[in-house]
């Protein structure tokens, strides 16, 4: 039993995107506690991958492949978690690119970085209207709402989310980012968090919840 958990960990470390789902199924069939498989297997694996990336030992595609492997296994293991039990995470982040903006890559990188650092990420995709951010933030009980905008014309959409969000739930933190977004702008629209790149977003998220 312990062996298959280690195998799951190694499958993430070795980016076994295609075969890890079968391994996860095998774990469930063998009666391994899905939460143990996630915490001691997948989470440990992605932590190692994230650390290697942080040290500059591996490159972004390797980190993304590690995250993809984890995602494939989670798709099998999460539904097997008994009702009422939850996995331990560093926090829950709701993320998306704001309305009228279809830029995806920066937002996806932040998602990957957060996931590889133990956060649970709910990704709403691109062109997300304010009301969707607000509705989902309540639904999934997000600790952080993260928004991306790549155009000066769509930046104000972030302010449109932050004001009502804070009114509904003052404890929710926000992080904003994207090419034209600055720390100065973040302060002006009342966002606690800002990051100029994807790696920085993880530190910001940790600080906000720490």
């Amino acid at each position: 039993m312990e062996e298959i958990v280690t195998q799951l960990k190694n499958a993430v470390i070795n980016y076994e995107m295609e075969t890890i789902a079968d391994l996860a199924k095998k774990a469930v069939d063998q009666g391994v506690d899905p939460l143990v498989a996630i915490d001691k297997g997948l989470a440990e694996g992605i932590k190692t991958v994230g650390e290697r990336f942080g040290k500059g030992e591996i490159f972004l595609p390797e980190l993304v492949m590690g995250a993809e492997a984890m995602k494939a296994a989670l798709a099998v293991l999460e539904p097997a978690v008994p009702a009422g039990q939850h996995r331990e995470t560093a926090g829950k982040v709701l993320i998306g690119t704001v309305q009228d903006d279809i830029h995806e890559i920066g937002k996806n990188l932040v998602s990957t970085m957060l996931a590889s650092n133990g956060f649970e990420v709910v990704d709403l995709g691109v062109n997300v209207p304010a009301q969707d951010f607000l509705k989902k933030a309540g639904e999934v009980k997000a600790n952080i709402v993260a928004m991306s905008a790549l155009m000066t014309t769509t930046m104000p959409r972030m302010a449109e989310v932050i004001a009502p969000l804070k009114k509904d739930n003052p404890s929710v933190k926000t992080i904003i980012g994207g090419a034209p977004v600055t720390d100065v702008y973040a302060k002006e629209i009342g966002s606690e968090g800002y990051s100029g790149d994807a790696s920085g977003a993880v530190d910001v998220a940790k600080k906000l919840l720490g």
Binding site: P61, T152, Y185
Partner: protein
Amino acid sequence: MSYGIVRGTRFQILSKDDLDRIHWGTLHILEKVGVQVDSPTCRKLLKENGCEVDEEARSAKIPSHLVMEALSKKKSTITLAARDPKYDARLDLNHSYMCANGNGAVAVDFETGERRNSTKQDLVDSTKICDALPNVHVHWPMVSSTDVPASVVHLHDLEASLNNTGKHVMYETGVTLEDAKNLTAMGYAAAGGEKEYRRRPITSCLQCTYAPLQHDAGVMDASLEFAKNGVPLVFFTMPQPGATGPASLVGSMVVGNAEVLSALVMTQLASPGASVIYGLGIAPLDMKTTVRAGGSPEHAICSAMGTEMAHYYGMPSCVGVSGTAKEPGIQAAMDTYTGCVGPLLAGADLMCGIGLLEDSSCLHLEQVVIDNEIVGAIARLIRGEWADDDTLALDVIEKVGIGKNYLAQKHTMKYLRTDHFMPTLVDRRSEDAWSTTGKKTMRDSAREKVKEILATHKVPGLPDGANRDLAAIIEKAKKPLWGGESKVH
């Protein structure tokens, strides 16, 4: 002397076979994979003309014959007319022109050094500087006026640009149909009416496609409106090799080419003969920092290949250069030089652009002046050399004879003006002379130049009547956006 950079020396990256293969590969992708077209108007247009359109996926597969038809309707020479006609930039596949970079949202305050949101005054200052610099030929609004209401930022940017330079103004991205109408109207007003504008378009618009293989609805609707109104367009593709395009540069060229050609198809179907420039700025995603590697050698090579691709189709190119340096200095100079020299050697028609740091985000006025100097040096590098009676100078060599010098020859004075680059910032004095005048760095000299330009350079603004029209267009377009939040910040 003609305006712009005269090109003599060329280097070639892709062979004719390579270009053929990229072209055929692109046609294959357009037919087999297609592109996402978010605009229902454009999907309808494509469907009516024989494309296989999937309404649910919002995608269109484009048959090769439509691409070839669109290419047969394109223009090969496009003149970006200027308010002051001596600055007309004729993109004729034989001259190169430089733009300053554009649409940054941050500026480092020239007086206080504070890094802050950019303002309309920053745009006015940088526009004046670009007007004064000899190696910035076409104007891009360098930063956004983030201190005006969000709904009219682009319009204020255009107003400030038109009033502070006599050079052609290319604005980047009109992202809604309404934007397109207002920006067109402002161009007409500044030119003295639609008829005069159509004869001499003093503005143009650069539109970005979205990698991989996507066209935003607002951008394409606006593009068709611009084309109808006689506003020249650039379709600018920016896949990032390894992220939003294949890691092989040529693979990303295919993705980019498919985006530009599909945009060209839609534009030429709607407005046959519309002026469209082939735009491309492909820089990899840096796989360690997750930042776009602007100013990298790959960026330069892609801009060079983009130019070769454009010229293969007989279209003028507009290709990118940028830098990731955080302050004026050694890295910034390296980024600009690396990013510019390759594409200019390959014959880039229009290069955008110099002067912004942090990958096209942050304005430092000194950097604009420094980059102007770098472009001047490159212009000399690529001008080309030739041997004729006058350059061979056999008569002069004979006259001077053995062991004398050429200082007092008329031939020397003549060729000094044409063959020798005369720097304005590069300091070639002796160490002794340099240290007795305060050991000024290039950045110090650039600051002095900025101060001098801002204090002395005068640009005649638009006539009062035109300015009243512009103000009226802006006032009418101003509206509270999204629940009263009416400013960018």
